[in-house]
């Protein structure tokens, strides 16, 4: 795809890379290399993922019995901390801070992100936020749900709301800095010849993500700050006792948190574009449409937040507008699914592990997206809002979508990041386990939801037990599915076979440099002369 000018053959043979160029704690903790920072992020978000996952396993165990195995207090704290940790400390930074941090400069032919020190700062801020939140966990947790709805969180809750809220507040700035860095990098750091229409779709989707992070996160920050002041001073603007409106909190909260859903899924969509293209040996069908759909999602995601509030007493007319706009944001997501499918048409399809995850993503995201229609439709939202239907819907998008994409991306670029291959049979087995476990966990919840089982119940009427047991069984399978890759990834670091520059035969600048890359990625700034996904000359034009 690109011509690397004056590239000497010794480059392949040389052993110095970003991992071994320096040694010791200090060389990692003070690094400004985007690849090392990405690895720091990989470690920290994996830790948080397992913290959040452990909580999920525990509260699924609680739900085995209708009366609940734990106390209500424990259960409420478990599901709240699960949500907070998973959303703000895993899903939001997952792909942007790790894979995109590692790959964006390489994909556009740059030596680093525009602001390497800001990048390191963002990791420290993330760690600070995580510590604050974990402090809240250790002290006894928070029981407000990840949504922190006032006035429960501001007045009534007896848990560590302030610590958790400040943790999330802090982590928000880490997210802002990452997004800011991507935006500037994509605008200003592209190699000669790397035009916007030649950018890999992964870069497009992360650019769109960056816009949402920059535009949405500050609103969450100020909302949590107002909430904290209200909790400290026992009076404030969401307090109904002085004429404040709790619905205003929801407006401000969802102004960030609905777009945040797209922060969580857009980078995953970018990963899938890369994987599907590579393992179909074919350029992505309708490149322009896929690229612009990312931007359309970024923009439209900011005008649909009210669909979380149809039944709060929000104006019916505003509700109608939000419902209509919510259907509009479904269109660009649908475009992506259709284009990935069409990419395989007349391709040369291979089933390596990343492709299995991509299949999983497309399937589960389709289900997750389509069930979103039930919630965007005013009439059916009345029956499904606040039930397990919603839980199932967003887990299909977040876990079935984003976590699948993250795992797929990790398997795809692991050889590039570490220079090592992982055992193929095990990885395929794990992908299968994840897929089965996931569906077993969350599909029953759609049925539970329409039956009316409310979210966030630590105990429930006995007729819901069978489906809950099924769900818990699935969760344990899912847990196993996530632990297996942990094991073989760590194993591969020392004992995996060497990967070589391009184990998948993929197109893209990142595959033309050594694995692992050297500190500055390229010896010479590459000059790009071709489109992305150049797996061969264009042969056929449909339509």
């Amino acid at each position: 795809m690109a011509t690397l000018v004056h590239r000497s053959p010794e480059v392949e043979a040389q052993e110095v890379n970003y991992l071994n160029v320096e040694h010791g704690w200090k060389s990692w903790l003070l690094t400004t290399d985007h690849k090392r920072i990405a690895m720091l992020y990989v470690i920290s978000i994996t830790l948080m993922f397992f913290v959040g996952g452990l909580m999920a396993v525990l509260f699924r165990i609680n739900l085995l019995e209708p009366e609940g195995l734990f106390s209500a207090e424990t259960y409420n704290r478990l599901f709240s901390m699960h949500g907070i940790v998973m959303v703000f400390f895993f899903l939001v930074p997952s792909i942007p801070a790790t894979l995109a941090n590692f790959l964006i400069p390489i994909m556009i032919g740059a030596k680093d992100l525009a602001f390497p020190r800001v990048n390191l700062l963002s990791w420290y801020i993330y760690v600070l936020g995580a510590i604050l939140t974990l402090y809240a966990v250790v002290r006894g947790g928070v029981d407000t749900g990840w949504t922190f709805y006032a006035p429960y969180s501001s007045t009534y809750s007896n848990s560590y709301v302030l610590a958790a809220a400040f943790g999330v507040f802090t982590a928000g700035f880490s997210s802002i800095l990452t997004g800011l860095n991507f935006i500037v990098t994509v605008h200003k750091m592209r190699a000669p010849g790397m035009t916007w229409s030649r950018l890999p779709l992964f870069v497009w989707s992360n650019y769109a993500t960056g816009l949402i992070q920059v535009l949405g996160t500050p609103v969450l920050a100020i909302t949590l700050l107002l909430l904290a002041f209200e909790r400290i001073a026992h009076v404030g603007i969401f307090d109904p006792n002085i004429g404040g409106d709790p619905i205003l909190f929801q407006h401000l909260f969802w102004f960030y948190s609905h777009p945040a859903v797209y922060i969580m899924i857009l980078p995953g969509m970018g990963v899938i574009s890369e994987i599907v293209s590579c393992f179909s040996r074919k350029r992505v069908f309708g490149y322009n449409f896929v690229a612009f759909s990312s931007m359309a999602i970024a923009v439209l995601s900011f005008v649909v937040w009210g669909h979380h509030m149809f039944l709060t007493g929000e104006s019916m007319y505003t509700g109608l507008a939000f419902s209509l706009l919510s259907f509009m944001v479904a269109v660009p997501s649908a475009i992506k699914v259709f284009n990935w499918t069409a990419t395989m048409y007349k391709g040369s399809v291979q089933f390596d592990t990343p492709m299995l995850y991509a299949f999983g993503f497309i399937g589960l995201f389709t289900i997750g997206g389509l069930t979103g229609l039930h919630l965007a439709t005013l009439g059916t939202d009345v029956a499904t809002h606040g039930t397990y239907f919603v839980v199932a819907h967003f887990h299909y998008v977040m876990v079935g979508g984003m976590v699948m994409a993250f795992m797929g991306g990790l398997h795809f670029w692991w050889p590039k990041m570490t220079g090592r291959l992982y055992p193929e049979a095990w990885s395929k087995f794990a992908a299968l386990i994840v897929f089965i476990g996931f569906n077993l966990t969350f599909f029953p919840q759609f049925i539970l939801g329409y039956l009316g089982m409310p979210r966030r119940y630590h105990a429930y009427p006995p007729e819901f037990q069978a489906l809950n047991v099924l769900s818990t069984a699935g969760a344990s399978i899912l847990g196993v599915g996530y632990i297996i890759p942990m094991v073989y990834f760590i194993w591969s670091l020392k004992s995996g076979p060497k990967a070589g520059n391009n184990p998948w035969g993929a197109a893209g600048l990142e595959w033309q440099i050594p694995s692992p890359p050297t500190t500055f990625n390229f010896d010479e700034t590459p000059i790009v002369t071709e489109e992305a996904y150049n797996y061969g000359p264009l042969e056929e034009v449909v339509g």
């Binding site: 602001f115 920059v214 500050p218 603007i237 409106d245 050297t518 500055f520």
Partner: protein, 234 residues
């Protein structure tokens, strides 16, 4: 290939010592810095925006209660502060200009003037806060119940809550700005800035102007809501 690891190895220092290793040219670096700063300012706009949205909603719902708070707002001090900030913006703009012209003496002078104006703003703000404390207008913490307008007691509390959040956040930004200006002053003394490199001066200038703009909106929205009701003369 040891030379790849040495950061300045490949880059001939064409444009002075301030070019970071990962940029190709000083122009690219400056473009990136400018764009980064503007992106940051956009996040700031939305950060304050959350409070402005709340303000809009409640002003619409409780206009009379909001208007009644004008009795307690010191328009003279608020107006003076507006003028002080505008002056500081001028001196900041002149400081950037001095840096562009490599005029070190003027740069230092204008930076010091900007800091004096900034500090004056904070001192005046401190007096206002003190008055609010004395009058018992701190919602939830030191609130006397708004005896002059009992009909507005509840809703006026919302305005004062917003007042302290908005002006407090603004003052916090001023304090950060003063810190940044001190940093600039130290750098300027060391003669770092000149026509070929003045990005930090320009960037911090942008930040300072932004803080000024926030105040330009806060002044009429918080101090002048019910000014025309002439509550002082009642």
């Amino acid at each position: 290939m040891a030379d790849i690891v040495v950061s300045e190895g490949h880059e001939p220092a064409l444009e002075g010592t301030h070019l970071k290793h990962h940029f190709a040219t000083a122009a690219q670096q400056m473009d990136a810095d400018t764009l980064g700063m503007w992106t940051f300012l956009i996040t700031e706009v939305l950060f304050f925006g959350g409070m402005f949205a709340s303000y809009a909603v409640y002003r619409n719902l409780y206009l009379d209660a909001f208007a009644s708070t004008s009795l307690y707002m010191n328009v003279v001090l608020g107006g003076t502060n507006t003028a002080v900030l505008i002056c500081s913006s001028l001196t900041m703009a002149l400081a950037v200009r001095a840096a562009q012209l490599s005029n070190r003496k003027h740069l230092q002078l204008f930076l010091i003037l900007t800091m004096i104006f900034g500090a004056a703003f904070l001192v005046i703000k401190g007096f206002e806060y003190h008055d609010k404390w004395v009058e018992g207008l701190i919602p939830g913490i030191h609130w006397f119940g708004y005896p002059e307008f009992p009909q507005y007691a509840y809703h006026a509390e919302i305005l004062f809550f917003l007042y302290f959040c908005m002006t407090g956040m603004h003052a916090l930004h001023m304090v950060v700005g003063l810190g940044l200006l001190s940093y600039l002053l130290i750098q300027a003394r060391r003669n770092i800035f000149g026509a070929s490199y003045y990005t930090p001066v320009e960037m911090i200038g942008l930040y300072w102007h932004f803080v000024d703009i926030v105040w330009i909106f806060l002044f009429p929205l918080l101090y002048l809501i019910g000014y025309h009701l002439h509550l002082h003369h009642k």
